[in-house]
């Protein structure tokens, strides 16, 4: 029986941990310690240094940036327990995961589920190696929360589709190599007329125009398609299955936005500790402003119970299998709490917490301001809070439609 067990699980935990440590010692450039790189997020271009390239290639070659994805497509083929060990050891060494972006967070898992063999062979390995950047072609000027209203049309031309229309909020569109998009292939049915397809961003007729946000950054684009030829083999699933596939992908997005991706990053930073750097403290080291202290505790308690809720959802969905129905609740709560946190930071710092630029502000202070402003989007994109409320009321609570 033992020979039936997957190779990865033959190594016991300690041995695997040692393997990871050795890998880090061999491959992680010391100069990158404590850094991260932009491919993991959606904003900013990647101008890799040689060390960064080396590190990305090393991790990509092992598939360890996507540790639980199948080995046959370039993933790590590892168990969740092993993936956790990689996380832990990378964190200890101050090493970042250089393989990220929308390909890893959203598109990859969806393609693994719905793509055909040829598509998986073609698209998954470059994601695992961090060579390709994907962007999302969902929203349109008149199809935001109401995605089913999308108008971008893909006309059947025999061996290819001819795509015309406009997308907006294309994350990182100006830096992306490829775009996963939902488009209309049939104008007669709102939902069943939608298909999911993959579009090369350098195809003639694709144009992007970055959008400046209130935070001053431009992580999104408007994307225009004019007679763009998309080969038939770039259709994922069947024609008309785009709504189903597209929604599935959104569940992955929601889980990420709600904090799945950023929980670990935020957990360590207590607002109370930050406040103590800006505000006077009393004899026992407590914040002298009792009202502010109460507000911070109020927030931190709710934040903790949100983290507990995220953990509980994970445990329950593990038991039940698949993405939890509670993802709407987590998205709604997590984004609201993150926004509250940003507002509290301003209250703690006063005008020092509202700096736009200049030497008078630390990088952390300026970053917090940009994050405060950009964070206003988290309750809008990935299904606005209003949409999540509709989903909770109708699908989870069984309240009828208001029509």
């Amino acid at each position: 029986m033992a020979t039936q067990i997957e190779p990865a699980t033959q190594t016991d935990e300690d041995a695997f941990r040692a393997e990871v440590q050795q890998f880090l010692a061999d491959n992680f450039p010391a100069e990158l310690k404590g850094q991260s790189n932009a491919l993991a997020g959606v904003d900013g271009p990647t101008n890799e240094t040689p060390a960064q390239t080396k590190w990305r290639e090393a991790v990509g070659a092992r598939g360890w940036g996507t540790p639980t994805w199948p080995k046959e497509y370039g993933g790590g083929g590892l168990t969740k327990a092993q993936a956790k060990i990689i996380d832990q050891e990378f964190a200890k060494a101050g090493a970042y995961n250089p393989i990220g972006g929308m390909g890893v967070m959203m598109f990859g898992p969806t393609l693994l589920e719905y793509g055909n063999e040829a598509q998986k062979q073609e698209h998954i390995p470059p994601i695992c190696r961090g060579e390709i950047r994907w962007c999302q072609g969902y929203s349109e000027p008149n199809a935001g929360s109401d995605l089913a209203n999308l108008q971008t049309f893909a006309e059947d031309k025999g061996d290819h589709y001819l795509v015309n229309g406009q997308k907006t909020w294309t994350s990182g569109g100006q830096w992306a190599d490829k775009c996963f998009a939902i488009v209309r292939t049939d104008k007669s049915d709102k939902h069943k007329g939608i298909s999911f397809m993959l579009i090369d961003m350098d195809t003639p007729g694709v144009e992007v125009r970055p959008i400046t946000m209130i935070s001053g950054t431009s992580p999104f684009c408007e994307t225009f398609f004019t007679d763009v030829k998309v080969p038939k083999e770039n259709l994922v699933g069947e024609e008309g299955q785009g709504w189903t596939i597209g929604k599935r992908l959104l569940q992955h997005e929601r889980t990420n936005i709600s904090g799945g991706g950023s929980l670990a990053r935020l957990m360590g930073q207590s607002l109370g500790d930050i406040a103590k750097k800006y505000q006077p403290t009393g004899a026992d080291g407590e914040l002298a402003d009792a009202v502010l202290r109460d507000k911070i505790a109020d927030f931190e308690i709710r934040w903790n119970s949100f983290l507990l809720t995220a953990r509980r959802a994970m445990e329950e969905s593990k038991a039940a299998g698949g993405v939890s129905e509670i993802s709407s609740v987590l998205k709604k709560l997590g984004t609201k709490l993150s926004q509250e946190r940003s507002e509290l930071l301003i209250e703690i710092r006063g005008l020092q917490g509202l700096g736009w630029e200049g030497d008078g502000f630390s990088d952390g202070e300026l970053g917090a301001v940009r994050a405060w402003l950009f964070g206003k989007a988290t309750t809008i994109y990935g299904g606005s809070t209003e949409i999540q409320n509709n989903i909770i009321a109708k699908r989870v609570l069984g309240m009828l439609d208001h029509q």
Binding site: G272, E286, K332, L397
Partner: protein, 356 residues
């Protein structure tokens, strides 16, 4: 809902079945109508004890099942759903004080009787109308305890009081030197100011310096579990009502403004459940108890407060009548909210525990 083991699932199912069939809110109405100050049904409590619920956190050697606080919380949550009036929560908390701090003799003498329901115990800490364990004047000299405890829960039915004095916790039996003054609160349950005037007292000498805090944390998580059941029930009843009630030719459930409020409450309830279950689990694990119990009760206070108000508002006029149950949840909710830590007290404690 936390992932449960088989014993826990059985226990919860049994509690659910019993409360739904044998102890619906009409039973609480009977208790209220009787006007007895002890405000619970002795037969029902005997049955509960027979089912083992009074001994869930008591070691097997002393007649309990030692299932722990998560298990006790499951039972208490179900009791909360139907507002079952009983001294179970307070008895469990008082028993935990003996488990943690009692001598072998004290354990042997009291725990089997508390587990079997033969005797009932409660906890007496606060000396004013707001929870403040730092302000205790009650003192003991020569084994005689003197002081007045305010709004002691389940005082009328108690055979034994676990009493906080300046230098620790003491066991005091009802009888000479123990006098009760009934304090009838909105929840129509048993509350009394208890005056100890040179009452014979035995110290709970083990359990260390944090015994009082440890016991209070157990009171917090179990109270939070009761509130969780109450909040869940108010939510469920309200949702049912909205799905049935027709206005302007539509069921209320179809109005988007109400849908979004229910979505808010649902999210709040999810947070409350996570916090309460984590509090109970922390007690069982013996790790991070103070912090987890503070979060549990704070979230219970916050969510139950809103849930009771929204429950009334969304029920409309009928929710204002004594004939409907939702008002009872409101009237119990505020009493529990003010017990063993108001939101403001809990946030102060959380700040201290977090070092700011």
């Amino acid at each position: 809902m936390a992932v449960l083991n088989e014993e826990q699932e059985m226990l919860r199912d049994m509690a659910r079945e019993w409360t739904v069939n044998e102890s619906p809110v009409t039973e609480f109405r009977k208790v209220r109508a009787s006007g007895e100050p002890e405000a619970f049904n002795r037969d029902a409590y005997a049955t509960m004890a027979q089912m083992g619920w009074a001994g869930v956190i008591i070691p097997e050697e002393h007649g309990g099942s030692d299932f722990g606080f998560l298990s006790a919380g499951l039972v208490v949550e179900e009791l909360g759903k139907t507002l079952t009036a009983s001294p179970l929560v307070m008895n469990t908390v008082a028993a935990s004080a003996i488990v943690l701090g009692g001598s072998d003799e004290q354990k042997a003498r009291w725990l089997p009787r508390l587990a079997s329901g033969e005797a009932i115990a409660t906890l007496a800490v606060d000396e004013g109308p707001s929870h403040d364990p730092a302000k205790i004047e009650t003192s003991v000299s020569d084994g005689k305890l003197s002081g007045t405890k305010a709004f002691v829960h389940e005082a009328h039915g108690a055979d034994l009081f676990v009493v906080a004095a300046k230098d620790g916790l003491y066991l005091v039996e009802k009888g000479d030197g123990v006098a009760l003054t009934t304090r009838k609160l909105t929840d129509q349950r048993s509350h009394a100011d208890v005056t100890f005037d040179g009452a014979a007292a035995e110290k709970l000498a083990n359990g260390g310096d944090n015994l009082l805090d440890d016991v209070l944390d157990r009171a917090r998580v179990l109270t939070a579990a009761e509130m969780l059941g109450m909040a869940q029930q108010v939510f469920d009843d309200t949702l049912d009502y909205l799905k049935q009630r027709v206005q302007f030719n539509q069921v209320l459930a179809s109005f988007q403004a109400l849908q979004h409020r229910m979505a808010d409450l649902f999210a709040d309830l999810a947070q409350m459940r996570s916090a309460v279950e984590a509090g109970l689990q922390a007690v069982d694990a013996g790790f991070g108890v103070a912090r987890a119990a503070t979060i549990a009760k704070a979230e219970a206070n916050r969510v139950m407060h809103t849930m009771a108000n929204e429950g009334i508002q969304l029920h409309g006029g009928i929710g204002m009548t004594d004939e409907y149950d939702v008002g009872f949840y409101l009237k119990r909710a505020r009493v529990l909210e003010q017990s063993f830590g108001s939101s403001s007290w809990l946030k102060d404690r959380f700040s201290k525990l977090s070092g700011y």
